[in-house]
């Protein structure tokens, strides 16, 4: 077997392991899916009426909630990765002729799947709340592609945080900024309504171009967002997360 196919086979085996973990712990999935849905109901049904965003609030907020659902699904990954490292099982894998990245890839793929399930639930609830996107098939494909890219980038970053953290608790806490970021973006209200300082932050942080691109794609007007910035941010974060994760993994005994 070539190096690549060995790595792929090892990753598939590890993915199966992580999937079993997720299914044994349904609370994690329930939590990752339910919380964003509750947030959606809060924003659309409770606060949304008071926000003036120039369009139906559910149309405005759905792209932001899609991103929020991704970031909310990360916490359990950081904890799970850290758990793996602090228990003896990781030394077993390391002392075997198993491709080095497979343990981590399994976590990344499971995280991506979990986040995309949450996103599917968000879309379903959005339609129930009167979401009326103008996007065609190509637009939806773009939305899906960008969400996959964002999820994978965020998952690598989270895996790295989980590896770098000393304890499972601090690993879970390390992802809190990722959960807070959507609030400091154009997810729920346009950035230009925010105070000085916060506004600049919101305009230049990575989630804003992603959200704006999703918004443009869903509105059938892709030129509204900055797709290049969105993809560049995701690719950059994925690369940083990957390199950070792999070097930390090598360092830890």
């Amino acid at each position: 077997m070539s190096g690549f196919s060995t790595a792929l086979a090892d990753s598939t085996i590890m993915l199966r392991r992580n999937l079993k973990h997720s299914l044994r712990n349904p609370l994690v999935i329930f939590n990752a899916v339910l919380f964003p849905l509750v947030m959606m109901l809060m924003f659309v049904k409770v606060f949304g009426g008071a926000f003036s965003v120039g369009e139906d609030y559910v149309d405005y907020a759905t792209p932001g909630l899609l991103v929020m659902a991704v970031s909310y699904g990360l916490g359990s990954t950081a904890t799970a990765v850290n758990d793996d490292m602090t228990k003896g099982i990781i030394n077993r894998f390391k002392a075997m002729d198993v491709s080095r990245g497979a343990v981590l890839t399994g976590h990344v793929v499971v995280t991506a799947v979990r986040c995309l399930v949450a996103d599917a639930a968000i879309v379903a609830l959005a339609f129930a709340l009167g979401f009326d996107p103008a996007a065609g098939a190509l637009g939806w494909l773009g939305v899906f592609g960008l969400l996959v890219l964002l999820t994978v980038a965020a998952a690598w970053l989270t895996v790295a945080m989980g590896l770098a953290a000393k304890t499972a608790e601090s690993a879970g806490l390390a992802t809190v900024p990722l959960i807070m970021l959507p609030f400091l973006s154009s997810a729920f209200v346009p950035a230009d309504t925010m105070g000085a300082g916060v506004r600049q932050f919101a305009e230049y942080q990575p989630f804003t171009p992603v959200i704006e691109t999703l918004r443009g794609l869903l509105a059938g007007d892709p030129s509204r967002g900055d797709a290049i910035a969105a993809v560049a941010w995701c690719a950059g974060l994925a690369l940083v997360g990957y390199v950070w994760a792999v070097t930390t993994f090598r360092k830890r005994a």
């Binding site: 392991r17 099982i89 077993r92 002392a95």
Partner: protein, 312 residues
């Protein structure tokens, strides 16, 4: 060199400026059991971790299964199995799934029959489909070792395989190790118990503060330390004299008023000794049976008690 499963020369490892392994050398013949004996903190786990490719040495050469651990890491990994001090099982998976995971990663086929065979051999069939988190300590160790055996590695490292186990589980573990040896597997184990090394190992090396202070067969080591003996303390020098005349093989200590009588520690020989004293109307103030343990080995080899005991 070719007949050595493991060859270590000049192995050094330090954490910061604290030397954990200070230049150790040993060889393990293929198909034999080698025990590294030492108290906590002697450097046993560090040695295992370096030999099992989990840690890099600072200096020295380490060859496992004929390959250098630093340059041919992958070849070494495919020849070894490691069972660490803490059971490395996936608690969210069942026993069967844990073994299946190993079989898949080692590309062992047919996986199902290998897994079933190991479950049966380790008496885990009944609990095979329960999550490992529900297993007792002994069962976890067994599952852990079973996972190590998937794919029949030629060399197996066992880091304190019985620490924390009850005496019965310890016996079971010993039987398993003997079974592996009978199949021709080379075993490198670490232990804090002289008895365990004595029971299992062909050769024993004693590790103390990062140095090997002795190496040899169990018999060779025991010759260097006082064997099992009975210690008798008498009320006065007259009784001591009389008893010393009766027991010519005994070693006397006039200050302590004691006699150290070599014995196998069995009840029959103890009764014979007591009967002999009775016949001559001699009674000892104190009577104790002393079996050599790791502390005696340390006392004999290093002139001080083991660090673990000092720490208490």
């Amino acid at each position: 060199m070719n007949s050595s499963a493991i060859a270590v020369t000049g192995l050094r490892k330090a954490y910061g400026d604290k030397a954990v392994l200070d230049g150790i050398d040993f060889e393990v013949a293929e198909g034999s059991v080698f025990a590294l004996l030492g108290p906590n903190g002697a450097g046993k786990t560090t040695t295992v971790n370096i030999l099992a490719t989990l840690m890099k040495a600072d200096a020295g050469s380490v060859r496992v299964a004929g390959h250098d651990v630093a340059t041919a890491t992958r070849q070494v990994r495919s020849a070894i199995g490691v069972t660490g001090q803490f059971a490395a099982v996936d608690e969210l998976l069942s026993g069967r799934e844990n073994l299946r995971l190993m079989a898949d990663l080692r590309r062992v086929r047919p996986a199902a029959s290998v897994v079933d065979g190991l479950l049966e051999r380790f008496d885990l069939t009944e609990s095979a489909d329960r999550q490992a988190s529900t297993y007792s300590g002994g069962m976890r160790r067994k599952l852990d070792l079973a996972m190590t055996l998937v794919g029949s590695p030629r060399i197996i490292f066992l880091d304190e395989p019985t620490t924390g186990l009850d005496p019965r589980s310890r016996r079971t573990m010993w039987d398993i190790v003997r079974g592996l040896v009978a199949e021709g597997t080379t075993i490198f184990l670490t232990t804090q118990y002289l008895e365990e090394a004595d029971q299992l190992a062909d050769r024993i090396a004693v590790l103390d503060q990062g140095r090997l202070v002795a190496e040899g067969t169990a018999e060779e080591l025991k010759r260097q330390i006082p064997g099992t003996h009975v210690r008798l303390r008498f009320a006065g020098p007259d009784e001591l004299d009389a008893a010393a005349r009766l027991l010519p093989g005994a070693v006397r200590d006039d200050q302590e008023l004691t006699l150290r009588v070599p014995s196998d520690g069995e009840s029959r020989s103890l009764r014979a000794l007591l009967d002999l004293l009775d016949e001559h109307l001699l009674g000892s103030r104190e009577f104790s049976v002393h079996t050599p343990d790791l502390d005696d080995v340390f006392l004999a080899l290093t002139g001080r008690v083991s660090t673990e005991v000092t720490a208490k």
